[in-house]
Chain length 183, copies 2
DNA sequence: CGATGCATGTAATAAGTTACATGATTCC
DNA sequence: GGAATCATGTAACTTATTACATGCATCG
């Protein structure tokens, strides 16, 4: 089977969170907000918006406020189908293979009381905990004594950094989940 | 100009750190050690090793210990040219655009007293500090009041998480640099 | 009036993934 | 003897980047 594409879902998520967006505005979102998690160039975005419109996920809307200006961008909104597709994608459980989608999916959950929020955080906590255990195991195996540390110091540093990063992630997720459950 | 490729330098770095490696062993390294920073499939690795050999960066070595076994992988070592190419790549300063290369480059610095270590950490500290300031500025602009937080809660969470992650990174780098300077 | 930003699109090229293909070895 | 792992390679396809291309608007 072909690899699951992510770009269309990101476009759905971005447009949904902002009610309507133009291709150019989507470019700005990529640059300003989600450059840490994903990148896309305008030559990817514009044809993709076309395809998604053809597939009935999006519909172009002409904003009446556009008076007479020659400059008027094409704004897109989600169709009912598009909304359903986005929701299904957001609800798909995270796996080890799809773990990099976590920040994206979280980004698109607008409501603090979304029923998708808690499971998403729990899934990521599970994956991060597993990852942390894996890294700690690796440290034991690859760097049993100081000799190995001295011979591959950079590797050692990236591994210890990875462990700290994952610990920090687990802390954040745990605290956030505690706050959610309290209310 | 075409985009700078990274895969060849990773192969150089991996082989260099292990003195010699086969394509299969490189696959294992990708899977076990650097999957957080980079991925590559065997269909990328094998032709790349060929190209690099043709370019004079690598040389295949036949390990004499291979007795009579029919199973013998092709091990590669760096040529003098390959060593120079790797060193030049490692010494290239990090920029905002190439920041994702930091963990890779760090990974390949085997000696704790490598003259490349301190500048690399300093460059990353600079980039992380800038990134942290950018994220904090974004938080001010995008989420001035609680109303915006409530309307885009997921976005808010990813932003606060990004700030924490970057802070944690800065702490780690600062502490490490302090330890290095002490000795 | 020139630079930057807004706004959209296509074409050529490069890179990466999946599938196809083969064969030996080792462990159970 | 069957499954998993070792070991390498190519072909077909998908995805992404860079370059090419155009034109208006705004600011200084």
């Amino acid at each position: 089977m072909p690899k699951k594409r992510t770009l269309p879902y990101i476009l759905l998520g971005l447009i949904n969170s902002n009610h309507q967006l133009s291709g150019y505005q989507i470019m700005q979102e990529f640059k300003n907000e989600i450059s840490d998690f994903w990148t896309a160039s305008h030559s990817q975005i514009y044809p993709e918006l076309q395809r998604m419109t053809d597939d009935g996920w999006l519909t172009p809307v002409t904003l009446s406020s556009n008076s007479d200006s020659k400059r008027n961008p094409i704004y897109y909104q989600l169709t009912t189908t598009g909304q359903a597709v986005l929701h299904d994608w957001l609800a798909e459980p995270l796996t080890t293979a799809s773990a990099e989608l976590f920040p994206l999916k979280l980004f698109f959950l607008d409501q603090p009381d979304s029923p998708l929020l808690k499971p998403l955080l729990q899934q990521q906590l599970q994956l991060s905990t597993e990852r942390l255990e894996y890294l700690k195991g690796r440290q034991q195996i690859v760097f049993p004594t100081d000799a190995e540390v001295q011979a591959h110091y950079g590797h050692y540093l990236t591994l210890t950094r990875g462990i700290q990063r994952e610990r920090n992630y687990v802390s954040w997720l745990t605290e956030l989940l505690n706050n959610l459950t309290e209310n």
